[in-house]
């Protein structure tokens, strides 16, 4: 055996690496859930991965307790100040709402109602991958979260979409991840807000598929359009920071700077269902 491995070892390694490389690239390219090979391997590995995930969660909790205490204390103080300010804002809003209702009645306008069913969760961990932008949150399937659910910040800005769900955790693709593709509107134009590998590293995403002749203006706010009925319309994605030409030179795209600073994410809300009338 030793003699055989000594004579043929290097060739075996090279062939094995070549075959595995080809398999891995195919798996990577076709998506992690779509092939028989991936599914089979995942079924076998899922219990092991579940065990490791449990262990990792415990370690993360411990890490959070040890290192995030000061940060959480400061956040708590800041939040107390914000609560006081919001209380005042709420009173002002009630007054404005009352005025708004009176005016709507006077003008006979139909009211647009948006009801969001939300689950509150905290960001427990950012992925250390250099090839994606994802984070883990503290709630999962048990709280009604499903793959594809949109995730928003406390202020209501879109900050990601659920990518993978476990019982008590979920992995979220952040709004700048290359896998993100969301129907969007800027001004009166419909387009697609999509993640881009290069822009991800600048913390931005791309507004693409803009109709020819459409005017993209720096500073315009980009909202979700609700196309596909997965993500509710009217959520703020960000603002156009610059407009550039595609490689072809024929069409333009806009660079969107997310409305919410992703590095500051602590608490998020997952939209599990919504009604819009």
């Amino acid at each position: 055996m030793k003699e055989f491995l000594k004579r043929r070892g290097l060739i075996i390694i090279i062939v094995a690496l070549f075959l595995s490389a080809a398999t891995l690239v195919t798996l990577h390219a076709t998506g992690s859930q779509s092939t028989v090979v991936t599914n089979t391997v995942n079924v076998v590995l899922e219990p092991v991965k579940g065990g490791i995930k449990g262990l990792v969660d415990t370690l993360e909790d411990l890490y959070g307790f040890m290192y995030k205490y000061d940060q959480l204390k400061a956040e708590n103080d800041e939040l107390r100040t914000q609560v006081t300010e919001l209380e005042q804002t709420r009173k002002d809003m009630e007054e404005l709402e009352s005025q708004n209702n009176e005016l709507r009645e006077a003008l006979n306008l139909d009211e647009q109602i948006r009801e969001l069913e939300k689950v509150e969760a905290t960001v427990t961990q950012w992925s250390s991958s250099n090839w994606s932008s994802t984070y883990t949150i503290s709630k999962g399937e048990e709280s009604g979260i499903a793959i594809g659910d949109p995730v928003i910040s406390p202020g209501g800005e879109l900050v990601g979409q659920v990518r993978e769900v476990g019982n008590r955790w979920a992995t979220v693709s952040s709004i700048v991840d290359p896998s993100i593709s969301v129907g969007a509107t800027a001004g009166n134009e419909g387009a697609i807000a999509a993640g881009d590998f290069v822009l991800m590293q600048q913390g931005c995403l791309k507004l693409t598929n803009v109709p020819s002749g459409a005017e993209l203006v720096t500073g315009d706010t980009v909202y979700t359009s609700g196309a596909g009925e997965v993500i509710p319309p009217g959520l703020v994605i960000g603002a156009i920071s610059r407009v550039e030409k595609e490689d072809s030179g024929l069409t333009s795209y806009a660079v969107i700077e997310p409305a919410y600073s992703l590095g500051q994410l602590g608490m998020v809300f997952v939209i599990t269902d919504y009604n819009y009338s």
Binding site: L27, A29, S32, T38, E60, Q125, N130, W131, S179
Partner: protein, 171 residues
């Protein structure tokens, strides 16, 4: 319990602790300590180290475990690291049994090759299927490899020390 069984159990436990500590460092500590926006990959370097000093069986075993941890940490890779690090562990173990000297130079060379292979596979899909231009991909892959290779220096002394606890047949 015989001395050799005890040695094996101690060595498994030591490797498990090493794996856990490195995973915590990779996913929780160094993920925040990015250089030019890049985080290092420490576990593949450890797989190379264990394989180089312990042989293909230990290298492959450590590769499976390290790969599983990496796949849990990186949601974009379902089984990528589990398969690749197992092969890297077995491959480097075989090379060290027959062709390589077990020194720092071999460790650095094998680590660099393993990290370059990982970076190449990670960028390949973006390059071919997503049409991303090669410049930013090479920058990311290159920086990831360079940053990660720095960890070969401290890891070399750890894995060598662990391997000296008891000598086994590398095959």
């Amino acid at each position: 319990m015989s001395k050799s069984t005890k040695d094996i159990i101690i060595r498994i436990l030591t490797h498990s602790v090493l794996l856990l500590v490195l995973f915590v460092l990779q996913s929780m500590f160094f993920s925040r300590l990015r250089i030019f926006g890049i985080a290092p990959l420490i576990l593949p370097v450890a797989v190379v180290g264990v394989a180089l000093f312990e042989g293909p069986s230990w290298g492959g075993g450590f590769g499976v475990a390290a790969g599983l941890f990496c796949d849990v940490g990186f949601p974009e890779t379902a089984v990528f690291f589990t398969i690749l690090l197992t092969l890297v562990g077995m491959g480097v173990g075989l090379l060290s049994a027959f062709y390589l000297t077990r020194g720092l130079a071999s460790f650095l060379l094998c680590s660099a090759l393993a990290l370059a292979l990982i970076a190449f596979l990670q960028m390949f899909a973006f390059l071919v299927f997503d049409g991303v231009s090669p410049g930013p991909l090479l920058r990311t892959g290159g920086l990831q490899t360079l940053y990660s290779i720095l960890f070969a220096f401290p890891l070399y002394y750890f894995v060598r020390r662990i391997s000296r606890r008891g000598k086994t047949d590398p095959l």
